[in-house]
Structures are given as structure tokens and as C-alpha cells.
């Protein structure tokens, strides 16, 4: 029985650690840093916990100590994600404005990450106390001949529990319940284990029973509030809401303000968080382009993917740009990313001779959304039900290595490389692989992060995204790189050297006036692009995109 208990306890601890690391990673966009820091601090906590038990607690009754540990662990572990979300939201509404000189938008996530490590350490410390308790209990019991009762087996149970935690939480529990509910659920498992061990060791008293209610009530209350917290977090983030003063009145105002807006739909898949922002939501937070804010919007990991009032310009440009430059319409097309189906719908609309469209998307949740969620399937005109569209659910990075077909045009529509997962889709290895899937006169169009501050040169820190892109693409063997799109920049790539230009009269498609304005060369702002081998972005040695 001790064996099972230790297994379950270490399952819970591993779950807390992974959930905290994951939440921190998603909030700060620093995946590698969050995971390795949290793992380090958790281990440190566990180790020191074990030592502390050996030094100061080993003479006390183990089950009494276990009782206190579990009550604390159930409350703070179960609420770990809840507390991280709340403190991040609190930080957002109170610190984001420019009045705080030293804590700017760039530094704040790191400060947050570091401060939260104390919390991770604390949970690790509590978890570290658990195993010695059971070792002690086992020691005091009479020796049995049962095979599963040795010290080694007890340690083994702990390790197996940790492994199960990592697999089950990542692949099964979080996709179903979401991070907030999963964490609270694990807290309940801790409570149940505590209850079971009290009963089986005949240590259950009324007083302890009453204490047991504390974590149950707290966890239950927070469990019912998880949707509200998530909405509060998302709404304050997207609305860029801020507290004017630290008093009850402005906090009340904040709650009222967020409640007056429609709810944001969030889907948590193992690959990304998909947020769908309802109409009229962003009109305050993106004031300089009220065009964006009035429609609905789709964000991936809190980065914009499309705005329903602007997607036409974006997708018309990416689709019309290629044939306008080459003078020939492609027949076989590969789309990498673009699970929203909008790009596919525009290709069907504009290219009359199109033969096949192969679309590779990593996230099945995104495809499901684009087919079944009405506001989106109306926008993409049920493109995925078209016979010419062939959907493949796979990682674009590995798919293009397996695929043997060649394509006349490849459209690459990934979110911008804020994380390492995305950065590898902008790497030299990726571009080399894509190159081999092109027919002789085929072309690639990339949606890329290009920007330049024309008014404040000091903001243009080297390497700029365009330096990294141009260096990586040149080293990958692309001879023609043409940049176009005044509002939405794209890169047009071909493998052999050609001199091309984008002239207004070459655009033979019926597109909106805005698209026509967008379809111009932007080489004037790319004059100072530097191509250096140290700027080449590789999966083995990534270069950070800063923008």
C-alpha cells in the first residue's frame, strides 16, 4: 500500500512541476528558460526538503508531519497554476504602463519568471518531504517478506509515478481539462491520498477531518471559478486594461469593464493556445487601426494570426503576389501552416487552373475549428471540404522531409518566431528541405516579420529579423529574394537568379484597393540588411528573433 501511495504522491508532484513550468512558459513565451529553471528550482527544493527532514523532522511522528505537508501541498500545489495566472494578471493590470521606469515590458516577464521560482521551490520542498516520511513509516513497521517493500522499490515507485505524471498530463489530461482544472484535480488527488493513509493507519480524528475540509473547500471554490479567472486573465491581456489606482474602486471598475465584454474562446492543444476574440473586442486596445479591432480575431499563443476585417488584404496579397511576379499561375500547391483555411479559400478563388492543394498543419484542433466553428468556416467558405484540398496533420518540419512530390508554389504561413518551436520553422534546415520540394520554376512565398523603425534608429537593434532571414535564406541557397507588402510584408523566393519587379499593371486579378496599395516592393527599407554567417538560424544553434 505504501508503494501505491508513494507512486501517487510523486505523480502529483511531477504534475505540479510540469504544469507550473508549462504555464510560466506560455505566459512569458520563454519555453526553454521556463522549463529548465523550473526543473532546477523544483529539484533544489526536493533535495533541500529531504535534507531538512533528515535534520530536523525525523524524530517526530511521521504521519503528523505528512498530514501538514499534504494539507499545504493540496492547497498550494492544487492552486499553483491558479496563483500563477492571478499574479500574472495582477502584474499586467498594475505594471504595464510606461510610468514604471525600470520595469518595462521587456524585463517584466523575466522578473515574473524569477519571482515565481520561489513558489516552484516551495512546492518542490514540500514534495521532497514526502518520501522520507514513508521511508520512516516503513522502517517502524515490522519487516515483511513482500517483494514490493524494500527501500529501492519505494524509490522506484516514486520514479514510476513521476514518469506517469509527465506522460499522462501532457498527452491526456491537459488537452481535455485545460491547465487550471488539471492542477486543481491533482490537488484533490493529494487530499484523497491523505485521507486514505489516515484511515489505513487508524489516525483519523474529528479534528483532522475538519482540517481536511479546508483544502477541499478552497480547491472546490477555485475550481468553479477557473473559467472566470481565465476570462479575466485573457480579457485584461487583450484589452490592455490597467488599474488607475490601487484601490477597491478601480478594481471594481476593472471587473465591470471586463465583464461588459464578450467571452474569449480558448482552446489548449499540446501545440498552442488558440484564442478567438469576438467582434468589437479590440477596438480600444488597437486604436491606431480601428479597422482591425472591429471584427473578430484569431490569436495563437497570444500572437495575432488574422483579423476578420483585414484578412482579405493579407491573403489576397500572398495569393496574388506570386503569379504577378512570375506571370504564371501555379497548379500544384503546398501550404505549410495556415490551418485557419483562409489561404486555401483564396487560392481556390483566384487560381482557376489549380490542380491540387496540399495543406500541412500540426494541430488537429485548428483544423477542427476551421471546419466546425461557424464564424470561421463562413470566412473560409468551407475550403477544407473542397475536393482539391488535401489536409495532412503533421509537423511541417518533418513532413517536407518525407514528402517526395514537387510543387509549383509553396506558401508558408506560420506564426512569427517568438518561441523555439516556431524559430525552427525559420531555420536553415527547414529552408533547405523546402527548397527540394520546388519544381524548376516554382516559387515560395513566406509570411515574415520584417520591421524597421524609421523615426527612432536606436530601436533597430542588430540582428534585425530581416538580417536573420536574409542570412539564413542566402545560406540555404536561394538566389532570388524579393520583398513586397507595405502593410503586410512577404518574401518571394526562387532558387535561380532572376531579376523581377512588381508593377501595378502586372496585377491582373480583381483585388481590393487596399491590396493594391499593399502590393509594392519594400526593398527601400531593406537596404542595410547584413548577410553574415553568424546570423544564420539553425535548430542546433538558434538566433533569437527580436522585435
Amino acid at each position: 500500500m505504501i508503494f501505491t501511495r508513494v507512486l501517487i504522491l510523486s505523480f502529483c508532484s511531477m504534475c505540479y512541476q510540469l504544469l507550473m513550468a508549462r504555464t510560466l512558459a506560455e505566459l512569458t513565451h520563454e519555453y526553454i528558460l521556463s522549463y529548465s529553471l523550473s526543473f532546477g528550482f523544483f529539484l533544489l527544493g526536493m533535495g533541500l526538503g529531504g535534507i531538512y527532514y533528515g535534520r530536523s523532522l525525523s524524530h517526530k511522528a511521521p504521519l503528523n508531519i505528512f498530514f501538514i505537508i499534504e494539507i499545504l501541498l493540496a492547497i498550494f500545489g492544487g492552486l499553483a497554476v491558479f496563483l500563477i495566472f492571478s499574479s500574472f494578471t495582477f502584474m499586467n493590470v498594475s505594471f504595464f504602463s510606461e510610468r514604471h521606469l525600470y520595469l518595462t515590458k521587456d524585463v517584466l516577464p523575466y522578473v515574473f519568471l524569477l519571482v515565481m521560482q520561489f513558489f516552484v521551490f516551495f512546492i518542490g520542498f514540500l514534495s521532497g518531504l514526502e518520501l522520507p516520511v514513508w521511508l520512516k513509516v516503513k522502517e517502524t513497521k515490522k519487516p515483511t517478506s513482500h517483494i514490493l517493500s524494500g527501500t529501492g522499490a519505494l524509490l522506484g515507485a516514486g520514479y514510476v509515478g513521476g514518469f506517469l505524471g509527465s506522460v499522462l498530463v501532457t498527452l491526456l489530461i491537459v488537452p481535455v481539462f485545460g491547465v487550471l482544472k488539471t492542477c486543481i484535480l491533482i490537488g484533490f488527488i493529494n487530499v484523497v491520498t491523505l485521507m486514505e493513509s489516515l484511515f489505513s493507519h487508524k489516525q483519523f480524528t474529528i479534528k483532522k477531518g475538519i482540517f481536511l475540509f479546508i483544502p477541499v473547500i478552497i480547491l472546490y471554490t477555485c475550481g468553479t471559478q477557473d473559467k472566470h479567472l481565465m476570462q479575466l486573465h485573457l480579457k485584461t491581456w487583450y484589452l490592455k486594461a490597467e488599474l488607475a489606482h490601487f484601490n477597491i474602486k478601480s478594481i471594481k471598475w476593472l471587473f465591470k469593464f471586463t465583464q461588459s465584454h464578450k467571452n474569449i474562446l480558448r482552446i489548449e492543444s499540446p501545440y498552442q493556445n488558440i484564442d478567438i476574440i469576438p467582434k468589437n473586442f479590440l477596438k480600444y486596445s488597437i486604436p491606431y487601426l480601428d479597422l482591425y479591432g472591429k471584427g473578430m480575431a484569431l490569436y495563437l499563443n497570444r500572437q495575432p494570426q488574422f483579423f476578420s476585417n483585414f484578412w482579405k488584404t493579407y491573403h489576397e496579397s500572398i495569393v496574388v503576389g506570386g503569379p504577378s511576379l512570375t506571370g504564371k499561375e501555379p497548379e500544384n500547391i503546398l501550404i505549410l501552416g495556415g490551418g485557419d483555411g483562409l489561404l486555401a479559400s483564396q487560392i481556390i478563388e483566384f487560381y482557376k487552373n489549380v490542380n491540387t492543394i496540399t495543406l500541412v498543419e500540426i494541430d488537429p484542433a485548428m483544423i477542427k475549428l476551421a471546419t466546425n466553428y461557424r464564424p470561421l468556416s463562413q470566412l473560409n467558405q468551407q475550403a477544407f471540404k473542397n475536393k482539391k484540398v488535401n489536409i495532412i496533420i503533421d509537423d511541417a518540419f518533418t513532413y517536407i522531409a518525407k514528402d517526395k512530390k514537387k510543387y509549383d508554389a509553396i506558401f508558408i504561413d506560420f506564426p512569427f518566431p517568438r518561441s523555439f518551436d516556431l524559430s525552427r520553422l525559420y531555420s536553415i534546415e527547414f529552408y533547405k528541405r523546402v527548397k527540394n520540394r520546388l519544381t524548376k520554376n516554382g516559387f515560395i512565398i513566406l509570411d515574415v516579420p520584417i520591421w524597421k523603425d524609421l523615426y527612432n534608429e536606436t530601436l533597430n537593434v542588430k540582428p534585425m529579423p530581416q538580417d536573420i532571414l536574409y542570412s539564413t535564406l542566402t545560406h540555404a541557397g536561394y538566389k532570388t529574394i524579393f520583398a513586397f507588402g507595405k502593410m503586410e510584408p512577404f518574401l518571394f523566393l526562387q532558387t535561380d537568379k532572376k531579376s523581377i519587379s512588381l508593377k501595378k499593371k502586372k496585377i491582373k486579378y480583381e483585388v481590393s484597393e487596399q491590396t493594391r496599395k499593399n502590393l509594392v516592393s519594400i526593398h527601400n527599407i531593406l537596404e542595410d540588411v547584413e548577410i553574415k554567417s553568424e546570423y544564420v538560424n539553425s535548430v542546433f544553434k538558434p538566433v533569437r528573433f527580436r522585435y
Binding site: 508549462r22 529548465s36 526543473f39 533535495g47 506517469l164 509537423d395 522531409a401 542546433f540
Partner: protein
């Protein structure tokens, strides 16, 4: 001896966790998600650590050869750190059409080996000491070692890249292995092996930029 054992346990834990993070990062590349790579990597590492320590527990026969055993474990660890990355890249090319679970099982294999070997380290070192208090000290430094690795890994990864980092860690590990050997003329063969691996590692480090071309061609194998 006490101090050096403490220092060794710090360094060994440092190297082990570093390997784990390096390979987690590497499999994230092939799995398509850092969350998946790291979560499964950490879980597997912990499991393998456990199996290693249990296997060691059941196999304890001759206590006198402990240091020699530890030496071989360290040698195996630093070798797997040096070549594990290349092996993973090669294997990853063959398994792209496998179902996801099988694919991740194969990709996680280097972590299993490293975890298994590292799992034997701690009981071996603790076996050197009799007193409970000293055992706790070893445990504590083990934790601090892992902690330092976790803090340093992100910086090393972005500054040096995955492969240069793994070479440096392997060299530290090799150094530790060397100190485990008895002084003066004993164990000459082992010493020569360690030194030649060390020279090899230095060469790998110096010619890393050339090797990166080689890695990419390995990586793009079959694409032509």
C-alpha cells in the same frame, strides 16, 4: 577525500542534468513541440534514474571496486554525450513515418541510457560514506549540481549551440572520470583511453563549424 567526493557528486549531477536538457532540446526539434519534448524528457529521465538506482541496489556485490565502476559509468556517459546527438539525428531520419508513440520511444532512448547510468552514480557515491549525515551532504550537493545545470543550460544553448555545449559537458565528465582513477602508474590503459577521448573532444570543438555542415547533411539525408 570527503571534500573531493562532495565536489565529484556536484559535478556528476551537473553533467547528468545537462545531458538530459540537451537531449530534451534535441527531441523537441523532432517532436515539433518544446512542451512535449521537455515534459516527456523529464519524465523519462526520472524513470531511468530510478531504474538505474534500483538495478544498482540489487546488484551490489563487491564494494571495493566502487570507484572503478563509477569510472566506467562516467566514461560511458561522456561518450554518449559526445556522440548521442549525432546518433539521434541519424535515427530521426529513419523513423519519420512511424506512429507518434513509437517515434517518441525511439527518440527518448538516449535519455533512458543517460538516466540509467546517472541513476547508478548516487548510490555508488553514497556507498563510499557510512555516516547518514555525510550521505545527506552528498544528496544535497547532488541537488545543487542539478540546479546549477538547469540555470546554466539556457545561456549555454543560445551562446554556444547544442553541440558545443555537449562537448564541454562531456569534457567536464571526462575530467571527473580521470580523477577517479588511482594516481601514478596504475590503470595506464584507462588513462590513455580518457586522454584520447579528451583530445577527440577538443578536435570536435575546434572543428565545430565544419561539423555543422556535416550535421546538416546528416539531417537532410534523403532529401538531396
Amino acid at each position: 577525500m570527503t571534500r573531493s567526493i562532495l565536489f565529484i557528486s556536484f559535478l556528476l549531477a551537473f553533467c547528468s542534468l545537462f545531458y538530459e536538457l540537451i537531449f530534451s532540446q534535441l527531441i523537441s526539434v523532432f517532436m515539433g513541440s518544446t512542451i512535449l519534448g521537455y515534459s516527456l524528457g523529464i519524465g523519462t529521465f526520472v524513470l531511468a534514474l530510478g531504474i538505474g538506482s534500483i538495478v544498482y541496489d540489487t546488484l551490489t556485490i563487491n564494494q571495493s571496486k566502487n570507484l572503478k565502476r563509477l569510472f566506467y559509468i562516467e566514461l560511458a556517459l561522456s561518450l554518449s554525450g559526445l556522440i548521442g546527438g549525432y546518433v539521434t539525428i541519424i535515427f530521426a531520419q529513419f523513423i519519420t513515418s512511424f506512429p507518434f508513440l513509437l517515434q517518441s520511444l525511439i527518440l527518448l532512448f538516449p535519455i533512458v541510457i543517460i538516466g540509467f547510468l546517472s541513476g547508478m552514480e548516487l548510490p555508488l557515491l553514497m556507498g563510499e560514506k557510512q555516516e547518514l549525515k555525510e550521505k545527506f551532504h552528498i544528496l544535497g550537493l547532488d541537488c545543487i549540481g542539478m540546479f546549477s545545470a538547469a540555470i546554466l543550460f539556457p545561456a549555454c544553448f543560445f551562446l554556444l549551440g547544442l553541440f558545443k555545449t555537449s562537448i564541454i559537458v562531456s569534457c567536464i565528465n571526462l575530467g571527473v572520470a580521470y580523477t577517479l582513477l588511482p594516481p601514478k602508474r596504475a590503470c595506464m590503459i584507462e588513462k590513455i583511453i580518457v586522454l584520447s577521448i579528451g583530445v577527440g573532444a577538443c578536435l570536435l570543438f575546434i572543428f565545430d563549424s565544419h561539423l555543422s555542415v556535416f550535421r546538416q547533411s546528416l539531417f537532410l539525408r534523403g532529401v538531396s
